[in-house]
Structure formats: structure tokens, C-alpha cells
Amino acid sequence: MTGTDTLTPTDTGRSSLPLRAPQLPSYAPALAAAICFGLSTLAGLLLGWGPIAIVLLGWVLLVLGLPAWSSAVEGSRKATDRLVTTVAWSVFALAMVPLVSLVYEVISRGHGVLSAQFFTYDMRGVLGEGGGIYHALMGTLIITAMAAIISVPIGVLAAVYLVEYGGKNRLARMITFLVDVMTGIPSIVAGLFAFALFTMIFGPGVRFGIGGAVALSVLMVPTVVRSTEEMLKLVPDELREASYALGVPKWRTIVKVVLPTALGGIATGVTLAIARVAGETAPLLIIVGSTTTLNLNPFDGRMATLPVFIYSSVTTGGKYNLEQLDRAWGAALVLVAIVMLLNLLARGIGALFAPKSGR
């Protein structure tokens, strides 16, 4: 390599043009990573270390080695840049570890128990092997659906109020603020709220599905309001004005022009909100309780739900612990699958309507 070593300006520096700076080849990071992890694997095998220690050593070597190499060749500024780049990417890899591990464990431990019986039986009278999650599955579907039925109209209408009617008045500002606050409500507090509410109405010890739906709505409404609001704001004013100019009243403009234009985005937001509450456990534990038998009536008595089923299977110990754990992992696999499918669906809807919503 030819050229000047430093970029530091000198008093006479303007006469020459230090454009060339020694640089590491483009494959340097990959080479460094290969060498560092190769060395650590070698050391690890010789010393009989576990895989975590090997990766850790390799990483330390890389984080020290690559910047040191770069510092020797390219100077300290480039070395810092490479150090940060390495750290940033390793942070990313580290953050992916839980996700990969979780997905792997859920699938590998959960798939064994899946069978036709698992989906069609409840847990009545089952102690050891056997039984299924039919009751919990139905409970989750019913309660989540009811939560959606409660919160979607409220959320969408409230967003319509904020965007189309409220402007910047006091009520609108207050709603915006409270919606922000509500996004941060701990889910267990939502459960306590529903419990307190229905205790005051029906007396102590009340447990039923609709209470869970109300609690989930408290968690779901803010998400729906937020996403709908975003989408309505994206609808260009020209569309509204064009409709007014045709003599269409405001409410019909909203229903026939504004909402359909934003429909894709709203549907995405709603689906994501459903996905979020479908996995909620704490509020259901408090107000819905759990049961081993199928109960399809959300207005009467305890219902089983998938999250609570998983929780109670893990926490009730005893003789049949292993069978219970198997079922918990199976149910977790089903729950994760439902939530991921809802997410994919939301993305699908989003992609389908994307050109119209202008994003």
C-alpha cells in the first residue's frame, strides 16, 4: 500500500492530496471472524469447553482483534467504526438468540403431543396422559372474538371522532392522552378492573368469559384507536372535499369514502391488536379462571383459555408433572402458531392494501 498514513491536516497539507488511505480488504471482517471463531473452537475442543464458552471467546477475540488490525492499518477512526459495527451486529445476533431458541424449543417440545385427540378432547377427568385442549382453544377463540366485537367499533369510532370531528378540542386531546396512558396499563390491572367492576355488579367470586373479554378490550381499544387514527390521517383531504363538493353529507363521506380508503390499514391494525390480546394471560387468570371442562357460554361460569391452560399446567406440580408439561408445550405451540398466523395475516392485509393507503 502506498500513500500517507494519516489524514491529519498539516500546515503544508494542502499541497498534496491524501486521498489514498490504507484499507483492509472487503473480506477482512469475514476473515477475522473465521480466524477468531476457528481459534476459539480449537481452544475450546482442547480444553473441553462448552459451546457457549467457545462462542464467547471467539466473540471477545473478534471484538478486540478486528479493531486492533484495523487500527494498525487504517488508523484509530476506522478502528472505532469497525468496533461499533462489530458490536452492533453482535448485539443483533444476541437478540436473535432468544427468538430462535424459543421457536426451536416450542416446536421441538410441543409437536410430540399434537394429535387429533389433542384438539378435540377437553381435560375432564384426565390426570396423566391423554386429554386435550379443545376447551381451552374454544375459550380463547370465544373470548378473543368477543373482545374484538366490543373494542373494534369503539376503537374505530373513537378514532373517527379524533380525526374527523375532534380537531384539537379538549375532549379530543384528553382522549388522545388517555389512549396513550391505556397502552401502558399492565394487563393484570385490566383484569383487576374487570374483576372489580363485575364484583360490584354481581357480588364477590364472579368468574365468566365475558369479563375476560371486557378486560381484553381495555388492552385492545388503545391499539385499535391508534392504528385507525394513523390510517385516517393518511386519507388525503382532497378525497373528503371531493365528496363534500358532490353534496354528500359528512357522515356518509366518512362511511363511504374515508373508512373504505383506510380499510386495509385499519384491518391490519385490528388483526395485530387481536394477535396481541389472544396471548394475554393475566387478566383471564383473574376474571375468567380456568376449568377442565368445555364451556361455550361466556356469560356463565369459568372458561378455559390457552394461555391460562399453559400457566396452570406448568404451575400445578405433582405426580403427573411430565404429562402436564408436554401438554403445556403443545398448547404453547398452538398458541404461538395462532398468534404468528394472525401476524402474517395482518402483514398480508397490509401488503394487499398498501398502494392505496399511500405508504
Binding site: G3, L7, T8, S15, L17, P18, L19, R20
Partner: protein, 259 residues
Amino acid sequence: MAKSIDVSDLNIYYGDFLAVQGVNMTIRAQAVTAFIGPSGCGKSTFLRSLNRMHEVIPGARVEGKVVVDGQSLYDPGVDPVAVRRQIGMVFQRPNPFPTMSIYDNVLAGNKLNSKRMKKSEADDIVERSLRGANLWNEVKDRLAKPGMGLSGGQQQRLCIARAIAVEPQILLMDEPCSALDPISTSAIEDLIHELKSDYTIVIVTHNMQQAARVSDDTGFFNLKGAGQPGHLVEFNPTKKMFTNPDNESTEAYISGRFG
């Protein structure tokens, strides 16, 4: 000492899209060279390829040669960071760093290279650069105030001060006055005139009167057609360009806009 730039057979791509095709020119040292042409003709893209700033946009690449002081900017050994350090740039919208004071804005580039600077040395650079940008008298009493508090024209001169503080060889200006009022514009034009004794200046402008006022040489860029790449139609001394251009389309463009 300022440097000249030799461009030969330069093609600029964004991904597969050829934005600018086959540019050949020599930009003289210690002179002002202006690029004019209709919107989207690639004059700004071409300007950004002169200090490898176009690479910031993903997928952008270049074929051909840009040679400064005998060194090709696109040789494998060349470091884009060093290139930008030597070839400064002023942008269309004034962009002082919002979180820094006027003082720190001027020194932003210098601080990258030398962590520890003597206070006197730093003060020196700030004063010299601000004087060089004709801004010193207006801001000397409020150097610690944020740069965003200045007017648009002052902000742009602050950006010029920041660019010349690192003592580059060449100064690229991408429509530096398009966001400014006429009085600020005239202040910047005066400044460009003064700076040319120390720097090679390349300026892109949509304002042909400005090109006529400040530049020694002018290049006219145009599109070959809709969806076609931009190319250099004519490159001549400004005087000739505006009185007796070689190319008919240059004449049409200039007269059309002048009238």
C-alpha cells in the same frame, strides 16, 4: 493550492438505472464552474459523484474516471472518507447540526480528525473560517448559541464555514442559494467570488443568471429524452456559453429562460 478535476467517460447508475451518461470535462483549478440544466438532468447526481457522496444512496455506482491531482477517486485503494475530507460540499438546504453551537458547528469536521485541539488553535480555526464565509461580524458575539437560531442565509454561510474549516481542496455546492432570499443569495454569490482564489468551486444552480454572474465555466446538462439518462451537452467558458453557445439546445434553454 486548489486542484483541478478531470472527468472522463463517467456513467452514473442507481441500481440498473443509468442516471448520467458519458461525461467528459476538465474543471479548472481556482475557478468557479457552474452546472445548469433542467430538473432531473443529473447535474446534482454528477456533482455528488465528484466527492463520492452519491454512494450514500444504496445501489448507486459509477463507471469511468474522476481524477483529482493525478489520483483517480474511484481507484480501489482510495478511501471515500478521505475523498470527502478533501472535497467539501455545501447542500441545497442549509444543514447546520441542530444540537451544536455555532462554534461547534464550524469545528465539527476538524474534531473528527484531531480529538485534542488547543483552545487557541480551535478559536483560530473558527474565526478564520467564519471570516472566510463573511459571517464573523454577524455571529462573533454569539458563538455559543445554536446554529439553528441563525437566518437561512446565515445558516448557509455557516455551512460554508464548516466546509472550509477543514481546508479542502475543492468546494462543491449543490444549489446553495435555492432556499434563500435574494439578499442572502447575493451575499453567498459575493462569497463564492472571494473563495475562488483559494478553492476550486463547482456549483450546481437552477438559476442561469446566477451561473452567468458567478462562474468562469459553465456546463449544460440535459436529458436525451423522457426516461433517458442525462448527459453533458456543452461545456464552455461562461461568457461564450451565454453569448454564443456551440449547441442549439443550449441556446434554446438559455434564451428560453432568460427572456
